[in-house]
Symmetry: C2
Subunit: 126 residues, 2 copies
């Protein structure tokens, strides 16, 4: 599935991450983005499982990186029943530092009627 045809359910979740979590600093909204037992695999750290630990990670990372805004770009999504996988790219703006560009793979799961991130791994483009 190409960017023009990404279903709305995926777009909605990504917008929550961009606007509520990063834009407004509402880290509680991460429970609408990640599944309850999601796993993230951040560069330079061990993997982290569970929404509570993921909230702590993002609160610390947002402060440490000085993130001011972030945009997600879905490059492709393949849906396989109640699971999907996405390849994408994120542009991250930071206070007093150059923007970061990262690429990512997200495994999505349906949970409570919404598409959410279940496995999330990323790394920098340069």
């Amino acid at each position: 599935m190409t960017p023009a045809t990404i279903p709305q359910g995926f777009r909605d979740t990504n917008r929550i991450f961009e606007e509520e979590v990063v834009g407004k600093g509402d880290f509680g909204a991460l429970a609408q983005v990640y599944t309850a037992n999601a796993t993230i695999l951040p560069p330079g750290a061990e993997m982290i499982t569970g929404i509570d630990s993921i909230e702590k990670f993002w609160m610390q990372a947002a402060v440490a990186l000085g993130v001011t805004s972030l945009r997600l770009h879905s490059l492709s999504i393949e849906v396989l029943g109640d699971t999907a996988y996405e390849i994408g790219r994120a542009d991250i703006n930071r206070a007093q530092a150059d923007p970061l560009i990262v690429k990512y793979v997200v495994i999505w799961k349906q949970e409570g009627g919404s598409w959410k991130w279940h496995v999330d791994i990323w790394n920098p483009v340069s």
Copy 2:
């Protein structure tokens, strides 16, 4: 699916990467590991699509990193028809440098009767 129950087809492909590609330096064997139009997302570089470009990447990376041996450890695999996704960890030994530990997510596809890596992204643990 936990490590003890990873199906043999996945193990076989990972052994080809460990023993033929890295162990013997047979980069042509990558065609038995990756699908023809696979995508890799290496840290610090743009994503790369297509088996020929992936072969070139691994030849250069193996030399640049001085890789002497590598072991893949599947931590979990979920099979969804002819697709699967794996979370794993790799221990990489290098000539005249400390070992590297990376974690990875691989999207697998069945191609020509074998399970192969279709999307491959990784980053370092530290």
